[in-house]
Each structure stands twice: as structure tokens, then as C-alpha cells.
Amino acid sequence: MLVRGTAKHYPAAQPRARPARNAHLSGHRSMNFEARLSHQLDRGLIANYAETRGAHDELLDAAGNVRPHWQPFLDALAKLPAAEQANRADLLNRRVREMGIAHDIFADPAAPGKRWEVDLVPLIIAREEWHRLEKAILQRTRLMNAILADLYGEQRLLRDGLIPSSLLFSDPAFLPPCHGIQPTTGHLQFYAVDLARDLNGSWRIIDNHTETPAGVGYALANRVVHTQVAGDLFEACNSLRLAPFFQSVQAGLAVLTGRRDPRIALLTPGPLHDDYFSHAYLARYLGYLLVEGSDLRMAGDQIFLKTLEGLQRVDLIVRCIDGRQSDPLELDAGRYGGPPGLVQACRKVPQLVRNALGSAVAQNRGLAPYLPAICRKVFGEDLLISDTPRRWLGDAANRRYVIDHLDRMVIRPAQEGTGRPGGAQYGQLGSSLTESQRRTLLDEIELHGEMLVAEERIGFGTTPAFSPRGLVPQPFAVRLFVAGTSDGLSVMPGGLAMAIVPNLAVALSAPEPRTRDVWIITDGEVPPHRSLWQPTIETARVQRSQRVIQSRVADDLFWLGRYAERADWTMRVLRSALQPLRGDNAPAQVESAARACLAALATEEHAPPTQSEMESASPIESMAHHLVASKDGRRTLDDTLDKLYRVANLTRDRLSLEAWRVLSHFRPGADWRRALVDSPPEALLELIEDGLGWLAAFNGLFHENMTRNKGWSFLDMGRRIERAGNMSEAILWLFSEPLPREDEAGRLFYLLEVADSFITYRSRYRLDPMLALVLDLLLLDETNPRSLAYQLANISQHLGTLPQANPSGGLSDERRLILSMLSSIRKFDVEALAKDATRSDLQGALRKQLRLLPQLTTAIERHYFNLLEEQPHRVHTRLEPKP
């Protein structure tokens, strides 16, 4: 039954129920009718809404009337039948899971705490409201930039007592080595604020994010997914699109480099980081290289990317790693998030890294109470939006006050510094502490007050959430994003809204990551859609840098090719062993061939099966199960799929969304994977068929969509090397000794099945399988994509297109090896090999290939993947004077 359960995960059809674009503008009579109809449905959608809404609600005003800017959305939603609404809501979250919008990509996106859900109902903000917000947020961005310029410069704000000095000096985000580095366009290229409505409906800032782009990739992904599922609703509301904003973000970054053809990299901590999805998604959307610290190297005070062609200069780094971890030489020793020497490179070129290193200090929560005075002093302006009421506990008077009023307070770290949406920790609620917790907290406040803030809870406004029984009000907060663009600082016309638990939260700490898109209603013309996915002429320039392949990525693609092929082969072996036998063949002989392959594949060293193994009485199903998921086997299908999924994740920014969707079936813990291990033997065949289908789709997507650049060469070489090895091994196992004619026929039949060459053989020879002809087809025929010669010829071709790093002119190791393998196989005489009854010549020839293949892999790895032979490491000295 588990098998059936997986069926619903086959890609579902796109919703087609798209109402005519101008439905609401059609004839008057029908409009009246529709209006009346939608009014009724409307009440259905919000029948029980008013009773449970918060003191301030986005949808309904104080009198309980729908606010006008929500009407178009409600109308459009109400036009969909109730079942269709629920379908859309489900489809939306299925797409989210397929896309893998989760905090930790190796985790099950459906697991508690890892879920990411997008509500069908967005948060809708009216035009006038948006203009006010925009103005306030831009003022704040300027203010944060001014503060950072001062803290990393003159420090007048400290000298004048506008910022308490120990607020800065207790914050490890303040990076003294970066003092004096002043980018001309300010420290911040990216900034985000978390806002909530208090009970009066006033917006309050509950957090600032000045370190990294703070999850803007999630907001973008939410929009993309929502538009796929409910693009008609979006269009009905005349909302602003995101693409123009990101185009100006690209242009703004390009201008900073002062180059026509800049190489811009997005620096991520790597796939194990919670926000990796957001980094990969953003890099992909903007067409930037996604790099990790080990991809970069400093030379001559400049930063270079390690590529297959050698070192190539990087013009700008979009920083998605913590500032402190960016340079093991001058910042946190032992943290290799960025290349050693990055700080020094920034001294030479202050706008090299965006946001500038050390910018996180401005998101210290303790700053909030001091901002109004700073704003007046620096700009002569009042702060347009206040922060949530907050006290910094580095101040002795605040400590005394909070200790006296602990029951009303929530205590939180001042320097938490997480940009992860929903990642903020809960505060400690004074009134809910036990006596001993209370004592510990008071102690902590006394000792480490500088690192804590106390907040009073403000209460939260509500916004509608979708449920199959109509809309329900839900407390919410929203993150809005700012970026430096070609037009100066701009606010992204959208955002990321999240549900919050009002009695605990004072920030965006969401235990249930129910997120929603944010739509800004415009009254003007919405410019036509120009997605960045299809590069326009202006952005094509930027996109081109994707052609550069980091050595690390080439390595990952090579192994992606290998694991995909290994999984494919293992499943083919399994399928041919399990499938009901055809009438015209001796079933016993075919089964014995299957046993030989299953037994050999399941051993770690792929040893040819012993006679006793082949005659063992265990049912073929249990041998198959052993190969799928045996606990002691290293090369089980289960293990190969784990590796495939993992390495695919490492190259995620190069996978298309479709490829990713297909791959999601192979995620450890996915339904199909669990079924594979747990299912009864008779269900295995059907599961294997599913798996082969998805793998074929995955490979096909690569084959059809991947540009034939160097990355492709490595992917394909990985696949070819694996296939060459698998084919050679199988022939070795099946024909290791003289066999009676009947047995040999059964084995030939099985081999042709596994190698997917049965049809080719039949149509070519119209004969029962004969060893010489089969060997010709599977070893020598360079036109058969399954033959050994085909694999070797292709590898040779790929190597010919790769850069030669051997200036002496001699042949590199890998080329020497492939030429020797090719020439040795071209010399095979299949007639003679087949006639030799001892099979020792065949064995010798195959063993030679199997010996050289790993050498070939090593040679390729050494040449291309280890441009620099090892990771940098740190040396210390220690002071040990005599007393």
C-alpha cells in the first residue's frame, strides 16, 4: 500500500482554472451579478472571522468592514469553488516541499520544526501604507549606515554618550580589525527589518538585520511558488512584481565594481547551513557564483576564485557568512568561512565585500532605545517608526528596574544576530519562571547585562490565514527587505510574513513556520513581467560568469555523475533479477546469472561470487533486499541514494527546479525511500520501476538542459567512468569460467537486459545471444552508448576539451591512461576471446581495465580538483616564560 501512497507525489498538473484576466471588467450586468455572488461567497469565507480577530486586524476595520485593499483578493478567491481553494492551498505546500524550501536541506522538509509552509492568503498592504513604511524603513537604513560609519570611524556617538560604550565593546560582532574600512556607499548593501502591528495598529520594529541578506531568498522563493499555484489571484490584485527590484539590485552591485563584466560571488557557509536554500536560490536568481570560503584565495591583496583554469579575480563578494568568520588570519582564528586575508583585501577595496565586514554590530537589540536620540542628532529628524519598548541591561538603572519588574518582562539576548527567518530564540518570560530559574536569570542579568535586553510585550495584530473552513485571523510579523540598487537604497516591494505565537514571542520566532507572501497594491500600471530567470540583454553579461567552474564544483559534479550512474545500474540489476521471467528463456539459468550479479554487487570489494554463493538456496528476493538495504553492505542501493542526494545538494545552485523536484523522491526519509527498505519483497519491483523512472527524468533533465561547458564534462566523465566499471565488472562476474551452453545463454540474456541492449541485439542479429556478438556489442561497439569503448571514447573527448595545466607539453597522467585503455580495448579480438574456453584472456583484458579505471579517477582528481593540495591551517606561538 505504501507504493500506492507514493503515487500522489508524481508531479501534479498545473492548475488550469485561470479566470479570464478581465473578468471583473466585463459587461455591467454580469459585473453586478458577479459582485452579488462574490459578496455572498465573501461572507462564507469570513463568516466566523470577526469574532476571533485581534485588536487590530489587517482584513477587517474596527467596524468589521472589509478594508478596501483586500476586496479584489477576496473577490478573486471567492470565485474559486471551495474544493479548488483547498486544492490550491495543498498544492502550494506540495510545491514548497518539492522545491526544498526548508531550513536544513538534509532534513525531512515535513519533519516537525523543519517545515516551511506558505499560506494561500498573502499579507496585502495598501499603497498609502506602503509609502509610509517605505519612507520609514529607508530612514532607518540611512541611520544604520550612519551608525556603522561612526562606529568603524570616529566613534563620536560613543564619545558623546549617545551609544553606551560597553554596548559596542561587549558585542563580539564589533570587529576592531575592520575599524577604518569605510565603503563609500555605506556599510549596508542589504538590510531587513521585522515589523509587527501593536494592538493600536501602529507598526513597531521588533528586529533589525544588518549582517547578511537575511533570508531574502526565502521571500523570493515564496513568491515564485505562490505565483505558480495562484498567479491568477496575484494578477487580480494589481500587485507589484519583484523582478524589477532584483534587476536594479544586480545593476547596483555591478556599478560598485566599476567593471563592465564583473565577477560577483555569493559567499555561503555551505550546504550544512540552515539558510543554504536562501543563499543558493538568491545566487541562482541573480546569476552569481555560489562560493564557499575554500573556493577563494588571496594573492597580492586581491581575492581570487580557484577555478579549473586557475585563479580568477573576484570583483565583489555578496556576504552570506558571519563577519567574524570571514578571515581566519585577522578575525576568529580557526573559522574558515572566508579566505585568509579578506580584511586586508577590504582595506584596499572597501566595497569588495557587501555587507561590509562587521556590519552585524548595528543589529544589536540594545541599540533600539538610543535610536531616536541618534536620529535627531545625526539627521535632525524624528525617527518615523519606533522599536518595540526595550531596555538594554548593560545600563545599571535598567538592571535595577527590570529586576524589580521582572514579571512583566521578556528577557532576550541583545546580540543574537540571527538573520534566519523564524530562527530567533524565545525570550525568557519573567512571570513564568520557577524560583531557581529566576535566581539564575537575575544572576545572569547582574553578570552579563551588557548582552541582554528586556522587552515589554506589545501584543500583535492579526491577518487572515487560509483554512478549508474559511479564513481565520492569525497574529503575524513581517520582514521587509532593503537593498542598495542602481537607484540608491530601495525597499523590495514585497516581503516575508510569518505567524507568531503572541504570548511568547517578541520577535520573529516561529515554531510553526507558516509564512505568507506580501503583496503591495498599486494603483498605477504594473510594468510587464520580466523575470530574471530568462536573462535579458543587460543581465546576460552578468549571467556569463556562471561559466566559470570552481574546482570544488567540478569535483561535486563528477561524483554526481558517478552516483547517478551507480544508482541506475544497481536498480537495473535489481529489476532484471526480479522481473517475471520471459517465456522463451530457461528461468533457472537467468536466475543464476542474477544471483551472481546481486551477490557480487553486495560485497564491498565487488568480488566475483563463489560457487557456494551462486548455489545458495536463499530466495532471490531476499538477495535483492540485501543489496537494497543490508546493514553491513557499504554499496547498498540505500547508501548510493544517500550519497547521490547529498552530492546533488552540494551542486544545488546548478540544478534546475525540475531536477530538484525529481530528486526530492530520493531524499533520505522520503516516502519512496522508506518504502524501499520496508516493503515486502513482492512490492520491490514496482518501487524500483518508480526509481528508475525518476532517475531517467533526472538524467534527462541534465542531458537536455545543462550547457555543454566544463561542468558538463565532469558530470559526464563521472557517469562514463562508473558505467565503464560496472559493465566490465558484470562481464567479469558472469563469464569467469567455462559454462554449459544453456547456462551461458541465460547469462547473456541477463546481461543484455541489465545493459538495456537486448532490443539492439535482437534487431541487429536476429539470433539467440552468442558470446562473441554480445562482447562486440557491449565492449567494442563505439556507437552503443552502453559499451565500454563508448565510455572510454567519450572520456577521452571530454579530457581533450579541458584546460591543460601541463606547460611542459607532455601528456598529463589522465590522458596517458585513457589512451592506453582505449588502444587496448580496440585491440580486443572478440572471436578469439569467445573461443578461449578457459576465459582467461577475457578475464585478463577486463581486469586490466578495472585496474586502470581507479587510476584514471585519481589522475583526474589530482589534476583538476586539488588545485591547491590542502586546506590552509593555522600556526600559533605561545608565551611560556620562566617564572
Binding site: 553606551p164 560604550s165 594573492a299 585577522e330 586575508g341 548593560g394 544572576d443 600556526v875 611560556e880 616564560p881
Partner: protein
């Protein structure tokens, strides 16, 4: 007293180093009571890039990058420095510590950043409940700040055993407190953590100390060593040095190279290597009084 100081560090690597980047704090900064007559820092092999700068704390920093293969690196600092002993300091005439702490931490116009900078815990001087409790014994309410500091330094000298085998570069100060053993860096970090737990300003000083061979034996070349101690701020005397490892206040036998929040800010030499595999390091320090 005038000194010739030589600080020579030799690294040898088991396989060639492809690239090495280093940051060096071996050039003496100007401080009160100290005159720098001469200084040379030589590096072999010759760096591809060598940069000198003054860091946020006012120390002289040399950054260098060697982009040619090498199996050996020699960094040699030679300085001629004159040191004068401080005048008399009356610890009991200083402001009560609690008033000093209040003055340092309350924001007001005219805040002295030079002082405020050193009042907060840093990576090696994290404060804990136990550290604060240890510190408080030397600082009953109202005690003059330098009297408290001197009491603390004496207690550390009495309570702790010098033991180079007990700690390494990553030993946290809480463990030093628990096991009551360590080296000069550990004792300095502990004293700083104690003082900063009270929100007093105190800084880490990196430098050299004159050592005397046992009577009747000749001075061995390269037998001296780098040293670390602390400096505490009071409104009356500004910064006053204390040496918890030797239980004394430095006169004219301590030579300052750099000071900052803790060891991390001013470690004499730190580097990142590409290649090199295993390395051996030999450090030779000579502090030779002139005439």
C-alpha cells in the same frame, strides 16, 4: 634602563609551504616610560607583500604574505628600548572601585574610549559566576580601585602555580581558575576576567621581561622569553601595570610591545599556511641590558 631585545622565530616545515600569510605584533609601540631607540623586523624569505599599519588599539602590526614555495620561515625582531621606572603610586589614594566602574559604564558626553574599550569581557576573558566571586573577595564595597587590584594580583600569585604543562593556547580561563595552574597568559587573562566582571577597565600587555641567570652561571643566548601582564585604570594614575605571574608591579625590567583586550589581539605571530604539513617552531628571545 636601556635594552637590546632580539626575538627570533624560526619555523621549519616538513613539506613545502605554497603560500603563507602572517600577522605579527613584535614591533614596540610607544608608551609612557618607554623610549624606542631603534627597531628592525626582518623576514626570510622576503615577502611578496608586506604591510605595516597601526591597529585599532594603537599597536604596530606587520602583515606579510609569501607566495613562493618555502620550507623555512624566519621572523626576527630587534629593538633598542629604554625603560624608566614609574614614580611612587599610592594605591590607597585611588577612587573606590564601585565609583570607577559606574563612571566607566554610564554613557555621557566626554566618554574616554581609551578607557571604556577595556571594560568588557573578550574571548579569553569571559566572566562567569565563579570568576566574579573570586574577584569580589578583593573588592569589598568602597575599596580604592588599585588597592583592590593589587590584592587580586597578590592572591593570584599566591593561589596559583606556574605550570607550562597544565594549559595550552585554547584552555579557557574557567579551567585555569578551577585547576589553579597555568602560565603568564593564563594568569593575565584570569586577572582581566576578574576585573572586567566588576566592570573595571584593564588591558592585556604583551612584551618581555629581563631574566637573571642563577648566580655564577653565564647567561644563555636565546634563553629569555616573551611575557604577558596587565594594566589597570584609575582616575588618579591612569594605567598602572601589574604582573600577576611574578606578583609585583613592573618597574624598569618589563618592556612593552603591545597592549589590547587579550592575547588574540596582540599574539606575537600568527599565520595561515597552505601546505607545510607538520611544522617545528623555535623561538629565541634575548633581553640584554646595555652597559
Amino acid at each position: 634602563m636601556m635594552y637590546d631585545v632580539s626575538h627570533r622565530t624560526v619555523y621549519r616545515y616538513s613539506t613545502p609551504v605554497v603560500q603563507s600569510q602572517h600577522i605579527v605584533h613584535m614591533s614596540p609601540r610607544p608608551v609612557d616610560r618607554q623610549r624606542i631607540r631603534g627597531h628592525v623586523l626582518s623576514i626570510e624569505p622576503s615577502p611578496t607583500i608586506r604591510t605595516e599599519r597601526i591597529d585599532y588599539f594603537g599597536n604596530r602590526v606587520v602583515l606579510f604574505d609569501i607566495e613562493q614555495e618555502h620550507r623555512e620561515l624566519i621572523v626576527h625582531a630587534r629593538s633598542t628600548i629604554g625603560v624608566t621606572a614609574p614614580g611612587a603610586i599610592d594605591f590607597s589614594a585611588t577612587t573606590p572601585w564601585d565609583e570607577v566602574a559606574h563612571r566607566i559604564s554610564s554613557p555621557r558626553a566626554g566618554t574616554d574610549i581609551e578607557v571604556a574599550r577595556y571594560a568588557c569581557a573578550s574571548r579569553h576573558t569571559r566572566t562567569t559566576h565563579d570568576i566574579a566571586a573570586y574577584a569580589r573577595k578583593s573588592f569589598p564595597a568602597g575599596r580604592p580601585v588599585l588597592q583592590g587590584a593589587w590584592d587580586l594580583v597578590e592572591r593570584i600569585y599566591d593561589d596559583f602555580t606556574f605550570d607550562p604543562t597544565a594549559t595550552d593556547i585554547s584552555t579557557p580561563v574557567t579551567q585555569v581558575l578551577a585547576q589553579r595552574r597555568g602560565v603568564c597568559q593564563d594568569f593575565s587573562h584570569l586577572a582581566l576576567a576578574c576585573l572586567r566582571s566588576l566592570r573595571l577597565s584593564a588591558r592585556y600587555v604583551s612584551g618581555y621581561i629581563l631574566t637573571r641567570p642563577p648566580v655564577g652561571t653565564p647567561r644563555l643566548a636565546g634563553a629569555d622569553a616573551s611575557h604577558a601582564w596587565i594594566s589597570v585604570w584609575s582616575p588618579e594614575y591612569g594605567w598602572v601595570d601589574f604582573d600577576p605571574t611574578n606578583g609585583l608591579t613592573p618597574k624598569d625590567e618589563h618592556i612593552t610591545i603591545a597592549y589590547a583586550r587579550d592575547y588574540d589581539d596582540v599574539s606575537p605571530i600568527g599565520g595561515i599556511l597552505l601546505g607545510g604539513n607538520e611544522h617545528s617552531v623555535h623561538v629565541g628571545v634575548d633581553v640584554i641590558p646595555q652597559g
